[in-house]
Subunit: 259 residues, 2 copies
Amino acid sequence: MSQRPLILVCNDDGIFAPGIQALIEVMQELGEVLVVAPDSPQSGMGHAITINSTLRVNRIQNTQGLVKYSCSGTPVDCIKMAVSKLSERPISLVVSGINHGSNSSINVIYSGTMSAAVEGCIEGIPSIGFSLCNYSYDADFESCKPYVKKIAKLVMENGLPEGVCLNVNIPSVHASKIQGVRVCRQAKAYWEEEMDERVDPRGGKYYWLTGVFKNVDDGIDTDEWALANNFISVVPVQIDITAYKAMEELKMWDFSIEN
Amino acid sequence: MSQRPLILVCNDDGIFAPGIQALIEVMQELGEVLVVAPDSPQSGMGHAITINSTLRVNRIQNTQGLVKYSCSGTPVDCIKMAVSKLSERPISLVVSGINHGSNSSINVIYSGTMSAAVEGCIEGIPSIGFSLCNYSYDADFESCKPYVKKIAKLVMENGLPEGVCLNVNIPSVHASKIQGVRVCRQAKAYWEEEMDERVDPRGGKYYWLTGVFKNVDDGIDTDEWALANNFISVVPVQIDITAYKAMEELKMWDFSIEN
């Protein structure tokens, strides 16, 4: 039995995306790899889980040091399936990605890639989500591989604080242009939605959800600043989302219903 | 034109669930109500958005002071649709629920109900998610109505800190048993998954995702403690999920790739 650490690889672009292939290649240098990833694209699925329908799993590869399963569910389902059903020994690291497109700033909340990492963290496993700031299917994942390896290695060596995982975003530039790695906070931003209204052949209206990303944070300690300046951003993300500072203010409120 | 505040009501159990009906009734006492809610149950959808397929909207009611739309998307889609397309004036308050079942502790991350509130918060609108700790379709929503009204009224009067919304959970007990309201932190907990394996008529395996909720937090300042002791729990939730404390530790790491 292999004593190499077991690394679980997931993503949200689907098991056949080039980004996950790049991540698998890097992780094979660091351990034994188990891939459990969606059988179709699941971008924007956030932390969705499948409870109103059923899940299917297919083993699609099983060679020395690489076992691959596709799953009909969301990225979070994949992590739950891997942990509870498919892994034969404890998982040392969960990595998700490499996402085709940025998951910086508020996108962390919508991202299926990051939700897989968050789920790994909830399960008590050191977890990292990787995203390349390039939405193209043919994006170049080679330039970032040394950094992906380095960050994964650091997490395997040092662990992560309890309840914390990493959101790593990588600028889409040639390796020679990457300025290094910066530990950042999530920039304050939002999407200004646009509903692209269309008419189907039977005259019914339907909509495509689209929008424009608005960064409203000019801090130089943010992930958006780092990426704009060709740094790789590393944002530690926590699963306890209590707004502790707000608790004191709320405790002053009179909630009694006897008016 | 009405000068009453405009209140957007959403949920994740679907527009025909009794819980949203109770919430609509309470909100009609506080303002003009716009309902935009999923046309089918969307429990466990987390912060999913619909980007790989299209959205449909149907206006199903339009009477004095109450306009209802059903939407084919997720709870978060509903909020985006309401804000960008369906509301004719600024929304003063977003309320989501009343959920059939608890969204306390780590469930906040999986919950479509809470994700609707989080999305309202991202949009800059004071937002609250309400959940009753009773999964039954026929749950009694009457007992909690005075508290739902009081909490919504307090939020309308005082506002909420920027980037913060409320996760309100209500014990499923008679009004006379409710001990009051407690401002809490999110308890540390997780789900121990079980994949319920079955075989379809053609011999193929499939799974139902199920599990057991494990509270591993014995703090008396948590939502789990409050609910177990018949208090309504109010957890302020933040959309900046940066683990600030972890940043200092991570900044000590040597990320350079020149080994």
